[in-house]
């Protein structure tokens, strides 16, 4: 065999794609055979064989993962080989395109993958604001507009859940706890590739006529939809799997692989953020998988879980979905809080203020978040008698959130603040999440929610908490840790331009939308009353500025990492955290000797006479 052929044949991306195609065709063929069954006579009328498509996707994913080599170790174990640690490759750019059980490689893979899909979802957001620039004129036919809306929401919600745990959790947690690897390196790699196949499947929805249910996929609307909804359902099932695996891996890593001396009371706050999120993920994600599989069954096997006329209930879907959906949004908030509290001490040169209070806050959020979900259903008529209980739980969750806030504020107090780019993003979190949190109480109050529910007020609220919260700290983490992960420095001035354009653009976009919502504009509409046109136009133009700021960031990233490649200082932020005490990027096995870990925040000058 020639050397090229030898490189191409084997368990790699090319084989994976080929086997994915084969799996897809096999699934389609199987589906066509199954369609002959009399109970599936509806397929002759619709001309759409959802069984084929779903099986095609499923077998395609299996083929992809087998081709990638993800099944090799399980197969060997089934055949009786003893367990063994993975031996990942240590260099070469090719390893980033392969199934690599190396937490640092997976971290970088996640970063690129999340970035790519975030960008695609962001483009869809720009298209939404383009359509909403005017009250009447429709650029997109209504079914395509709803597909754009659905793609934006679905891709963001699916991808952003792993936005911090994937790149930064996988990369940094073993370093921060003094471990050489994560607990389940192969599962870690699998979770990334599941994300990739899931997003590819979602993008195929565009070719299938799209889906018009938005990211929430309410049944029976999703039951009656055309082909494209199957892509949405398979996407979220795979994302749910990926999330469960990430959660499992991170929890196990932090539980079992901490260095000697690293007690829970000394764990870096970022790791606390990761582990609370991970534990929640394991509990919440499976419910989503179940809910969507039931919709798939309704569509293919003619079951009636959500079909009222045949014994099912639309309420069932709403309950299942929001049981996952509410912890989901705290899955988005918590890692951002972890990043915030990890970075603030570095840029104020003080230890984290109220460490135990902050940890209590994170645990409190994780726990209470499972008890609030009916607040999405205040006007639905479901369990209306329980609304006071859910009002209480929803209001209660602001108490642990407040703990995180006070820890941040206390860390800032009397610090020596340096306004670097990561610090700017962290400060923006405090402002944005404050607005997001305060507008949350308007919705927690059930009478007030009667007007706010389903309107742009809700939309502005969750963009403030998710985008204003998570995404801003995501960028803080990027600017902060990219020099560690790549060894290259990002341009500081471009970073500040990015920040200010993004912060001002973001606030200018979503602040008017609170008003628009409370004044009567529902969500997911393609036309709206004339009187909202000015505010919507303002929001749209601001959104274009926000989008432009992302281009500035992209330019900075591409230029610094791919073209200029100036080497970064070994510890540009003067952090005392463990990961900064090694090279950039760290060596393959992280540490020559496992360190014994002391105070996680060794900043600040002790006052005369020792610690207070």
């Amino acid at each position: 065999m020639t050397s090229l052929a030898r490189r191409l044949v084997g368990f790699n991306l090319l084989t994976a794609i080929v086997l994915a195609g084969a799996g897809y065709l096999l699934g389609g063929w199987l589906g066509d055979r199954i369609a002959a069954a009399p109970s599936l006579a509806y397929i002759a009328d619709t001309g759409e064989n959802d069984v084929s498509l779903a099986l095609g996707y499923l077998l395609g994913v299996v083929g992809f993962l087998v081709g990638l080599g993800a099944a090799n170790y399980p197969a060997r174990r089934v055949l009786g080989h003893p367990p063994s640690l993975p031996q990942p490759e240590t260099d070469g750019i090719g390893r980033y395109f392969r199934f690599q059980p190396d937490h640092k490689v997976v971290g970088v893979q996640y970063l690129v993958g999340i970035g790519l899909f975030f960008f695609i979802a962001g483009v869809n957001a720009m298209l939404i604001r383009l359509e909403l620039l005017t009250a009447e004129e429709s650029i997109f036919p209504p079914d395509r507009y709803l597909t754009v809306v659905g793609l934006h929401g679905t891709m963001m919600m699916g991808v952003m859940t792993s936005a911090v745990l994937g790149p930064f959790g996988n990369y940094l947690v073993p370093l921060m706890i003094g471990a050489r690897r994560s607990a389940f390196p192969r599962i870690e790699a699998l979770s990334f590739w599941l994300l990739v196949v899931a997003d590819v499947i979602l993008l195929t929805a565009v070719a299938l006529g799209g889906f018009q249910t938005g990211w929430t996929g309410y049944a029976p609307l999703s039951g009656q939809s055309s082909y494209g909804i199957d892509a949405y359902l398979c996407f979220f099932v795979l994302i749910g799997l990926s999330m469960t695996l990430v959660g499992l891996n991170m929890t196990a890593t932090v539980l079992t692989m901490r260095a000697p001396g690293l007690t829970w009371g000394r764990l870096p706050i970022f790791v606390w953020g990761v582990v609370t999120t991970a534990a929640m993920m394991v509990l919440a994600a499976p419910v989503l998988i179940v809910a969507l599989l039931l919709v798939l069954l309704d569509r293919t096997a003619q079951t009636s879980f959500f079909v009222q006329g045949a014994g099912g209930s639309s309420y069932l879907f709403e309950n299942l979905f929001w049981f996952f959906g509410h912890p989901e949004v705290y899955l988005l908030a918590l890692p951002g809080m972890g990043i915030l509290l990890q970075l603030l001490p570095v840029f104020t040169r003080k230890p984290l203020w109220g460490y135990r209070l902050a940890v209590t806050g994170m645990l409190g959020i994780a726990l209470v978040s499972f008890t609030v979900w009916q607040h999405h259903l205040f006007v639905s008529g479901l369990a209306a008698d329980l609304r006071p209980f859910y009002m209480l739980s929803t209001e209660l969750i602001s108490i642990p959130t407040g703990f995180v806030f006070v820890a941040a504020l206390g860390t800032l107090w009397r610090g020596r603040i340096r306004l670097t780019v990561p610090m700017l993003f962290c400060l923006a979190w405090i402002f944005n999440f404050l607005i997001g949190g305060l507008t949350g109480i308007f919705q927690a109050d059930a009478p007030s929610d009667v007007t706010a529910h389903g309107s742009f007020f809700v939309l502005a609220h969750f963009h403030y908490t998710i985008m204003g919260g998570l995404i801003f700290t995501f960028f803080a983490a990027l600017y902060y840790w990219l020099p560690k992960m790549t060894g290259y420095a990002l341009n500081e001035r471009l970073g500040k331009v990015h920040f200010w354009l993004m912060f001002l653009g973001f606030n200018s976009t979503f602040l008017p939308l609170f008003a628009v919502g409370l004044l009567g504009m529902p969500r997911r509409v393609v036309v709206y009353p004339e009187r909202f046109e000015f505010l919507n136009a303002w929001a749209s133009v601001s959104a274009f500025v926000l989008g432009f700021s992302m281009l500035v960031f992209l330019a900075n990233l591409v230029y610094s990492l791919l073209i200029a490649r100036t080497t970064a200082e070994p510890n540009p932020w003067h952090s005392t955290s463990v990961e900064w005490q090694t090279t950039s990027p760290p060596p393959a096995h992280n540490f020559d000797r496992i360190p014994a870990i002391g105070d996680p925040h060794d900043y600040g000058v002790a006052p005369a006479g020792g610690r207070p």
Binding site: P220, V379, I399, V450, G454, G520, P612
Partner: protein, 280 residues
């Protein structure tokens, strides 16, 4: 530990700012807060919004002032890295924060529950057995109106007028209305903005909501739950008219829709949709 001078300054600025801003917000902003006063329920929601805004204003000011002060006063001067003081926490501040946040949350919960259990429950959908029904008082009788959501048009039935079905919603002023919101296919949501009513329409479910319109005029009806491609176009204009105008309108609709009266499904709280096609 004595509060420092900096802390005293922040507190003072905050107290002054709140003392000015909160009354200003209450006096100038809150009377115009949505959803307005076209009905009792809308007015009730407006009160809730006023109270929440009044509570949110000092909280917002506290954090913003704190942030601004910190960013101005506690900056590193010059390029050399300076170390800050090693403060790990402050029992007094933490306790005060916990107590204050719990107190605010508890009172907001009590307030919200009290408003929710008020008759009519602020115009929101309460399901088939409402906890807070509106009872007719004085000489007014309750007017039941069924709102039928389907893809992509709302229709309305008046059971006390022989099950008359109409494409537009007209209500008499001053009479309490009992909406029965249901759907024939997927989940919709009946939102009468100025009246402050929102109730989800689920197939096979009777979702009850109450309203007492207080003024003659028009109101917007919009669907507030994504129900397919024309969700954004599922809107209409409803009217509140005086009692005589209402009776005139009812008679006109009865004449107009007399031909189809015999074909209408008998009035029922819910209509089970046939999964393959027609409704029951």
């Amino acid at each position: 530990m004595r509060p420092s001078r900096d802390f005293a300054r922040v507190l003072l600025i905050w107290v002054v700012a709140s003392a000015i801003a909160t009354p200003a917000v209450v006096i100038f902003l809150t009377p115009d807060l949505p959803p307005g006063v076209e009905s009792d329920e809308a007015a009730g929601q407006q009160v809730d919004n006023e109270v929440l805004t009044a509570v949110a204003t000092p909280v917002l000011l506290l954090i913003v002032i704190f942030l601004a002060y910190v960013l101005i006063v506690f900056r590193q001067k010059g390029p050399a890295i300076e170390e800050g003081p090693r403060i790990y926490g402050h029992a007094g501040a933490q306790t005060a924060w916990i107590v204050a946040s719990t107190a605010i949350v508890a009172s907001l919960f009590a307030f919200g529950t009290w408003r929710l259990l008020d008759a009519g429950a602020a115009g929101g959908g309460q399901g088939p057995s409402p906890l807070s029904p509106l009872r007719a008082s004085g000489g007014e009788t309750l007017l039941p109106v069924q709102v039928i959501g389907q893809q992509w048009q709302f229709t309305y039935r008046y059971p006390t007028y022989g099950g008359l079905q109409t494409p537009h919603l007209v209500l008499p002023v001053g009479r309490p209305v009992e909406f029965h919101v249901t759907s024939l296919d997927v989940v919709h949501s009946f939102w009468a903005f100025e009246l402050g009513v929102k109730a989800d329409a689920n197939p096979g479910v009777d979702n009850v909501a109450y309203v007492t319109p207080k003024r003659v005029g028009k109101f917007e009806v919009r669907c507030a739950e994504l129900c397919g491609i024309w969700h954004g176009y599922m809107f209409d204009t409803g009217r509140v008219v005086d009692e005589r105008g209402f009776e005139t309108w009812i008679r006109k609709q009865q004449r107009l829709f007399a031909p189809v009266q015999r074909y209408l499904t008998p009035y029922s709280r819910t209509y089970l949709p046939d999964p393959q096609g027609r409704a029951g």
